[in-house]
């Protein structure tokens, strides 16, 4: 989240897309309700299903799954056409005035720089025209200014076009557009909240970006009650991402080194953003090297020095990626020997579960660390599988549950909150990180005894824990914070990190979380005493836990005030320039704390970017500088905008890339759109072991639209078979009017709803089918996230 949970109460309008917070985040949802109850905020829920969120929203808008970029595109067009954007903000806080290079083009569904053979763009082709100083040329009235290119790009997203794509009738779309358009006023603010309903698409990154672009136009980024807010899944998924669970990043969103980078300078040159404006601070780009060197010093200690480029050579420079699907793709190809699973069950969570089962069976060994048996630890004896035919050796290591260990959870709002161990581990259960530490020590011992290829990265890794086989999470938290190697003291801010090897930081974003004064994630000054603990009254509670970066509660908060430093809306101030004190006050400023905004050399408001502004136009994603609507890989219609390039030209098609046939269904054989999702009663697959929750939702089912059920003679409780090109499930039907028909490009479209929680492990799950048997093995161009939320199926009564 750019903002945080509690902050949602400050919004005037809440757009919810690709999310179902009342069910997936019921506790955080209280702040949506407070906005509604205390300030009369309006809540608009655009979703294919009428869910428990829609139940209390003001308006539910039925939208075809996978078309949110068209919905946001339509809103962008409405705001631009009717001059409803926040003019001062757009001019001063976005790159609207930047002039784009001549070769920019968008034609027949493709941007410039596309290589059809490789199915790849060259994002370096999406850049600004420069002046003599090497900075971007600025002229908002230029025909190729970002603003004018946007006007042209989005002019195609008329209410009629939006309707053809999304299924929302034009008059209803305009009703919403009118509400949204009002949010460009400085005294109004809107938040957009999304979750995996936007990410689980081949166009997921661009859908999210389209929401962010709309928010920039309306001047809502950086403001309390505004922002672009991702509701993260599990309790610590934000912490996972920050600490490099994703394949393309190192801790703190530093890029994974790429082939051809010979030294740190190459790496920084290719990874860090460059100053495109003289007043841009470009903080991330300018300090990239310091962050990377401090990370390398953390990992390789004394072995990392100026003489060896701080051990940059020790890091892999992978040509391929190791995204989730790529791992199992390699297993399918027989290129993967073994897999260790921790905190997830591959057999259930991945797309095309039958293919994943084949991949698991292709391994020599599989090690599952979990507190409970999972579909992965038991895949060899799943219904229909002959255990004698499975060659994979499976190890199940009992791991502790989070309730059996201390450590931190980082929530969606970036708050790092420390927790204590509640109960001691049961039986032989061990912490996952102890298993990994033990494994590392044994591998290192093997290298010591038997040598091996390139031993240095293993032999020289620092492992500075009291008991190296049992690192304490507190020790790791201190290591992540980093310290000054000369004084030996832990650092208070990443501004003190250096590139000369004198500092460490396991993750620069977390520097300051554990200074000499102690672990700030343990702080609990909250609602017991709001007057003292929330001095601004804005709900920042600065001494409740710790929020990255630097305990800042709202990212980009310089943009919450006008050019002179006065809050756009004094009743909902983020920060403001105190002329007497000559300081920014309020939240922890996302800006130099003493930079006078009236100084002509004052840094531009978005200090992290090379432009110094928010990016309406960006080369940060690999599939286009402006968000564009593409159809899901399996879709009931051709893209009305450009039928010749209907789906994303860069969606990653694993099967064909590996020489396997693509198994995608066509609408004549699979006439219904399916979308998969979670229910409030369960957490992923783990709660199949919790009796109370199994009772609440005991059995797999699919939700079937009432009208379609009548056509097919299906009643609630009937068994139905749902098939895709890849697999089938046989489950009960729940007939409901909460799913209805849509008319898209002249075609009647029905959605089938597929909750995911069941498998063949748990209290009452012995014969359940995996929902992901149906989903396609295909990923988003930038992130490789699978398309769980939009695919085609057929359905029959059994």
């Amino acid at each position: 989240m750019t903002n945080h949970w509690r902050d949602i109460r400050h919004a005037d309008l809440i757009l919810i897309n690709g999310a179902n917070p009342a069910e997936a985040h019921p506790v955080g949802f209280r702040w949506f309700m407070r906005a509604k109850l205390d300030r009369g905020a309006k809540m608009i829920h655009a979703d294919p299903r009428f869910t428990r969120t829609s139940a209390v929203a003001d308006t539910h808008l039925r939208i075809r799954t996978g078309t949110d970029a068209a919905y946001f595109g339509g809103l962008i067009n409405y705001v631009l056409r009717n001059q409803l954007y926040h003019d001062e903000y757009v001019r001063g806080y976005t790159n609207a005035a930047f002039v784009v290079k001549k070769d920019y083009e968008f034609k027949d569904g493709l941007f410039n720089g596309f290589d059809p053979k490789e199915r790849k763009y060259d994002p370096k082709k999406w850049t600004y025209e420069t002046t003599d100083g090497g900075f971007a040329r600025l002229d908002i009235d230029h025909p190729r200014s970002v603003l004018n290119l946007m006007r042209k790009h989005y002019s195609r997203y008329t209410p009629e076009m939006v309707s053809r794509i999304t299924g929302i009738p034009p008059d209803q779309f305009l009703e919403i557009a009118k509400l949204v358009g009002e949010m460009g006023r400085p005294d109004k603010v809107m938040t957009i909240v999304y979750a995996v309903g936007l990410t689980h698409h081949t166009t997921g990154s661009q859908m999210i970006r389209s929401g962010a672009v709309l928010q920039l136009l309306l001047g809502n980024i950086g403001r309390p009650g505004g922002g672009m807010n991702a509701e993260r899944g599990h309790a610590n998924i934000q912490g996972n991402t920050d600490n490099a669970i994703s394949w393309e990043i190192l801790p703190g969103y530093l890029k994974v080194p790429a082939p051809g980078q010979r030294d740190l300078s190459d790496y920084v040159e290719e990874s860090a953003s460059k100053k495109a404006h003289p007043n841009a601070l470009n903080f991330f780009g300018e300090n990239y090297r310091k962050f990377m060197v401090s990370l390398l010093k953390t990992w390789y200690g004394k072995r990392a020095g100026k003489g060896n480029e701080f051990a940059f050579d020790y890091l892999p420079k992978p040509a391929g990626d190791s995204s989730w699907m790529s791992i199992f793709d390699q297993a399918l190809k027989g290129e993967m020997e073994g897999v260790i699973l921790s905190g997830m069950t591959a057999a259930s969570i991945g797309p095309d579960a039958n293919q994943v089962a084949t991949a698991l069976g292709n391994l020599k060994w599989l090690c599952v660390m979990d507190a409970f048996p999972t579909t992965s630890s038991e895949f060899w004896q799943a219904p229909g599988v002959d255990p004698s035919k499975v060659k994979t050796e499976v190890f199940a290591l009992p791991a502790t549950h989070w309730i059996e260990k201390d450590g931190s959870f980082v929530n969606s709002g970036r708050w790092m909150q420390w927790k204590d161990q509640v109960i001691p581990p049961e039986g032989d259960a061990r912490h996952d990180h102890w298993v990994l530490a033990d494994l590392f020590l044994r591998v290192r011992e093997l290298y010591r005894r038997e040598d091996g290829k390139f031993p240095a990265p293993v032999m020289e890794l620092t492992f500075p824990y009291r008991d190296p086989a049992k690192p304490e999470l507190d020790e790791i938290a201190r290591e992540v914070n980093g310290r000054n190697l000369k004084s030996g003291k832990r650092l208070e801010t990443f501004a003190d990190l250096a590139d000369d090897g004198s500092t460490t930081a396991g993750n620069w974003l977390y520097t300051g979380s554990y200074p000499e004064s102690g672990n700030l994630a343990k702080r609990r000054k909250g609602v017991q005493d709001p007057k003292r603990n929330d001095p601004t009254g804005m709900g920042f509670y600065p001494e409740w836990a710790w929020s990255w970066p630097l305990n800042r509660r709202v990212l980009y908060n310089r943009a919450s005030a006008d050019l002179d430093g006065r809050p756009w809306d004094p009743r909902r101030a983020g920060i403001r320039w105190d002329r007497a004190k000559r300081l920014w006050v309020g939240d922890v400023p996302d800006y130099p704390p003493d930079a006078d905004p009236r100084d002509p050399k004052a840094p531009l408001p978005f200090i992290m970017t090379g432009e110094g502004t928010g990016r309406l136009f960006s080369s940060g994603l690999v599939d286009g500088p402006f968000p564009e609507h593409y159809e899901p890989i399996e879709s009931p219609i051709e893209n009305p905008l450009h039928p010749q390039v209907s789906a994303s030209p860069m969606a990653f098609l694993y099967d064909s890339a590996a020489g396997r046939p693509n198994r995608f269904g066509k609408v004549d054989e699979f006439p219904y759109v399916a979308t998969s999702y979670r229910l409030t009663e369960h957490e992923h697959y783990i709660t199949q072991h919790v009796e109370r929750l199994v009772k609440l939702q005991p059995e797999a089912f699919v939700e079937v639209p009432d009208e379609l059920a009548r056509e097919k003679g299906i009643s609630t409780g009937d068994w139905v078979r749902v098939r895709s090109k890849r697999g089938k499930i046989e489950v009960r039907a729940l007939v409901t009017k909460r799913l209805g028909a849509l008319k898209c490009d002249g075609r009647k479209v029905f959605h089938i709803g597929i909750p995911i929680h069941w498998g063949y492990v748990g209290i009452k799950t012995s014969e359940h089918w995996l929902a992901n048997a149906l989903t396609p093995f295909v990923g988003d161009a930038t992130t490789r996230t699978p398309e769980f939320k939009a695919f085609l199926v057929n359905m029959e009564k059994m």
């Binding site: 069910e23 019921p26 309700m33 539910h60 039925r62 409030t680």
Partner: protein, 283 residues
């Protein structure tokens, strides 16, 4: 917000269905706190919309109802009125028929003005089950006594709000002193009416329903939509049958007369009339 809980004051629940999100946290919190058993054969798919609990009974004291009235339109209103979600519970009636019929005196009104079944006094006769107009009570098979929501009597004695209210993330279930709750409820109803949600109506906040309910509701449809008796029907027999009372009274008076006459007749040496005598004595 911590409510100060003082014995001698009346407490209850205000359940505002317009903000219920059907998360069932109340159901689970109730079962966990009260250690209610889960029976193996209950793990069934009921298909009552998203509800698989089915009903209030001896081991389910909070139950979220799901009533699916979502219209066909592409754009529709939520605001709690299209997909009716309601966390149901014992109403802790002023005129509590369960208490009236209990032969052992197991059902009492507590110092918090709530209706409570004393486990160790209940003999499992089931009279209260038949008497409850809301089908709230049932015999808990494990303990073999009649059970229902206690309004967390044990928590109230310890100064804590009931588990369901504590767990409710949207404050759909609010606990507090009854007068406070009634004020809050009226304000909430007025707000919804001002927003054009005319169907919002309070149920059980005044004495029209069984003399008043300590656990009352803000509903987003007619009470019948939630299977609740409306005000016209929600009265105990004694209030419906004033005529009947008069009849009984008349009979009694006649009986008394006949007894007097019989006695006089007996005194005069006439035959016995035991029936008449007994009628007279009972009066």
């Amino acid at each position: 917000m911590a409510t100060k809980i003082t014995p001698g004051e009346a407490y209850g629940f205000f359940t505002d269905t317009s903000v219920c999100i059907g998360c069932k946290a109340c159901e689970v919190a109730c079962k966990e706190w009260n250690q209610l058993p889960e029976e193996e054969d209950e793990l069934d798919f009921l298909g009552q919309s998203l509800d698989n609990t089915g009903e209030l009974n001896g081991s389910t004291w909070r139950h979220v109802q799901f009533i699916d009235n979502v219209p066909d339109e592409t754009m529709s209103e939520g605001n709690g009125r299209a997909f009716l979600l309601m966390s149901d519970v014992c109403k802790h009636c002023k005129h509590a028929s369960c208490m009236d019929v209990c032969p052992t005196g197991a059902i009492i009104r507590t110092e918090f003005d709530t209706v409570f079944i004393q486990e160790d006094v209940c003999n499992g006769c089931r009279d209260c089950i038949a008497a409850c107009p809301y089908d709230v009570i049932d015999v808990n098979e494990e303990r073999n006594v009649a059970q229902k929501c206690t309004l967390c009597y044990d928590r109230l004695q310890g100064g804590m709000e009931p588990a369901c209210a504590k767990a409710c993330p949207t404050d759909s279930i609010q606990f507090g002193p009854l007068d406070d709750l009634r004020d809050r409820a009226k304000k909430r109803e007025a707000t919804l009416h001002a927003q054009g949600l005319k169907e919002a109506n309070l149920y059980g906040h005044d004495d029209k329903v069984y003399g008043g309910l300590n656990a009352f509701f803000l509903l987003m449809d007619k009470p019948e939509a939630y299977k609740l008796p409306n005000a016209a029907n929600a009265v105990l027999p004694q209030r419906n049958n004033l005529g009947g009372y008069l009849g009984i009274f008349g009979t009694a008076v006649l009986g008394l007369f006949s007894a007097v006459i019989a006695r006089r007749q007996r005194n005069m040496g006439g035959g016995e009339d035991p029936a008449g005598t007994s009628e007279g004595e009972r009066t």
